[in-house]
């Protein structure tokens, strides 16, 4: 948890093998305060198929240290760009089965627009820049997922010209 000089706000970033509890993470951002009018959550969930082929599981690998630092860098950017009261980002690593959670982004603000936009911004940047890699276990063995050009484009649209 880190404080903000102008507004009581918090940033929580966790990378963990275990699943997360969305309700508990929302409560952690809203607990005992009455200045929050909007909370947006995004959950990324493991699909049961990839490019039309069914999969047994994903394995998420990350670069310890840099992954946390990249997410923190983007959380700081979001904090300075939108009037947020809090951000939580949780990314799971290790083996994840279809239907299980992969990632959670929670943004809290006085009003919904900031929370919606910041959550989308964080996910776009996380997908393009945070050092995580997905490997798929399928019928044909294990293969690494290719990056999608769309992810870079999605992140670039937040760049102010």
């Amino acid at each position: 948890m880190r404080g903000d000089a102008t507004m009581t706000s918090s940033v929580t970033i966790r990378i963990q093998q275990d699943d997360f509890d969305i309700a508990r993470e929302i409560a952690a951002l809203t607990n005992r305060r009455s200045d929050i009018g909007a909370v947006v959550t995004f959950s990324g969930i493991c699909r049961g198929s990839e490019d039309g082929a069914s999969i047994a599981a994903l394995t998420l690998e990350h670069y310890p240290g840099m992954a946390e630092a990249e997410i923190a860098r983007h959380a700081d950017t979001a904090m300075s760009r939108w009037p947020l009261t809090g951000i939580s980002v949780i990314h799971r690593v290790g083996r994840i089965a279809p239907g299980e959670n992969i990632v959670l982004v929670v943004t809290a603000s006085q009003h919904r627009q900031a929370a919606f936009e910041a959550a989308e911004f964080l996910m776009d940047y996380l997908k393009a820049n945070a050092p995580f890699w997905k490997r798929v276990e399928g019928s044909a063995g294990a293969t690494w997922i290719d990056a999608r050009d769309h992810d870079g484009t999605a992140a670039a649209r937040w760049t102010k010209s």
Binding site: G44, L60, E61, H62, Y63, G65, M66, A67, A69, E70, H91, I102, V103, M123, L126, K127, A128, N129, A130, P131, F132, W133, K134, R135, W144, I145, D146, A147, D151
Partner: protein, 83 residues
């Protein structure tokens, strides 16, 4: 300097990290990739398409022309697919 490898770069090279001492003529990330690619079949395979390789110096993303002189840790990995 310490090198770290992730995802299929790590699998192709067969190790997750190592310490290397490249010659002084190797000054940038792309020169380091070219030098590593000549270290054997596994390295040649890992770095066969240099333009898809991403690099970080001391845990921050860098471009291929970044200088490696003061780097403590350089990581090589494929484009990221998290989220």
């Amino acid at each position: 300097m310490k090198l770290k490898y992730f995802a299929w770069v790590r699998e192709r090279i067969g190790k997750s990290e190592e310490t290397i001492d490249p010659p002084a003529s190797v000054q940038t990330v792309e020169e380091l990739i070219a030098w590593l690619a000549k270290r054997g079949e596994a390295y040649a395979h890992a770095f066969e398409t240099p333009r898809v390789i991403r690099a970080a110096i001391d845990q921050a993303h860098v471009q291929p022309d970044a200088a490696i002189k003061d780097a403590r840790e350089i990581a090589f990995f494929p484009p990221m697919t998290g989220g």
